[in-house]
């Protein structure tokens, strides 16, 4: 009887927890593309789609083709472009599409190791709830 009560309690707690997080996210990364510049940095753009019922968050990214990957956003104020670093990640709300695009949110590749003329870069995006997603982003010509 005590075991049953404990089990019911556990199920209840996890259900409550799931409710608080709004169900399960279902994240997909679409249309990824990379832009590499000869100075050893690059940007990756993509559409991140969450068709699930729960929120998620992109908390980081890595690539074997660069020393580090950071989450950046360009903010324009009074004709000045300002780069903002987002170590806290990008929120990926449920039933939403978050665009990583030129002049806005993007992944910045620092210390590029990709060979000149590389056709694609491998990236792993780490989501708080959905876990890692690995993809190949084709390199676009400048």
């Amino acid at each position: 009887m005590r075991l049953l009560a404990t089990l019911l309690l556990l199920v209840g707690v996890s259900a409550l927890s799931a409710c608080a997080r709004g169900g399960e996210p279902s994240v997909k990364v679409e249309s990824a593309r990379a832009q590499l510049v000869p100075s050893g940095v690059g940007a990756v753009y993509a559409q991140i789609v969450n068709r699930g019922g729960g929120d998620d968050r992109l908390v980081g990214a890595s690539s074997p083709h660069s020393e580090k990957v950071e989450l950046h956003e360009v903010v324009h104020e009074d004709g000045i472009a300002r780069m903002v670093h987002h170590p806290e990640g990008f929120a990926i709300p449920r039933k939403a599409r978050v665009a990583l695009e030129p002049g806005g949110k993007h992944l910045m590749l620092l210390g590029l190791k990709a060979a000149p003329g590389a056709r694609e870069v491998t990236l792993t995006l780490l989501f708080e709830r959905s876990g890692p997603v690995t993809l190949e982003a084709p390199v676009e010509p400048l």
Partner: protein, 217 residues
């Protein structure tokens, strides 16, 4: 009879006056339309573009004055900029291409606002990645400060992650907040138009065709 003739004369003067007034108004409207019908932001009054006494791709002094007779598009940025600067230079490459053979009359200058990491060689490699004809311009010290002031451009170094100040790579990975957008210098060396960095290609090309049709220096 006399009264009738006088009345007709007054009417004639009135009509003539109205016609003249309409003509002057049309001319004024035409001039205003001409000045304001550019897609870019018109710089009024046009003033001589401040000189860019920089080191160019070939290691020699660059001179805006030496390019009189051509249109010069100037933008500011730095080679470690992965987003706005490549987007700007890509657009300018497309603009030149949209102009066809007339694109040969357009020079593109990219001025570095990051003298600590950029070098003339690094700038040359960067702009050549977009188009071999683009000029990568390097200045530092008081010359850079003067150019920023005379072009009314701002640039300030920012470490997006303050915790990096403890890291060994802190001097490699910083960004520079800077004035984005492009400036157009006409064939007479006057600063004429300004666009945001993400302006569409065809409207810029249309404006440049108009400027190319003007008399040169």
């Amino acid at each position: 009879m006399q009264e009738k003739r006088e009345a007709r004369g007054r009417l004639g003067s009135l009509v003539l006056g109205l016609v003249l007034l309409a003509g002057v108004a049309a001319l004024a409207v035409g001039m205003f339309w001409h000045a304001s019908s550019f897609h870019g932001v018109v710089i009024e009054p046009p003033r001589t573009a401040p000189e860019l006494p920089a080191i160019g791709n070939d290691g020699n002094r660059f001179s805006l004055k030496a390019l009189r007779g051509k249109l010069v598009i100037v933008s500011f940025g730095y080679t470690s900029c992965p987003d706005v600067c490549p987007l700007t230079l890509s657009r300018l490459k497309q603009v030149k291409s949209a102009l066809g053979p007339a694109g040969e009359e357009i020079e593109v200058a990219f001025v570095s606002v990051d003298p600590d990491r950029d070098t003339p060689e690094r700038l040359a490699a960067y702009v050549n990645g977009f188009a071999p004809s683009f000029h990568g311009l390097y200045l530092d010290g008081p010359e850079l400060i003067t150019v920023l002031a005379t072009w009314n451009v701002t640039a300030s170094r920012r470490d997006p992650d303050p915790t990096r100040s403890m890291q060994p790579n802190r001097n490699r990975y910083y960004s520079v907040d800077h004035t984005s957008g492009i400036f157009v210098v006409d064939r007479a060396g006057k600063l004429r138009l300004r666009y945001p960095y993400d302006a569409e290609v065809e409207p810029i090309a249309e404006d440049l065709r108009r400027l190319l049709a003007e008399a040169g220096a």
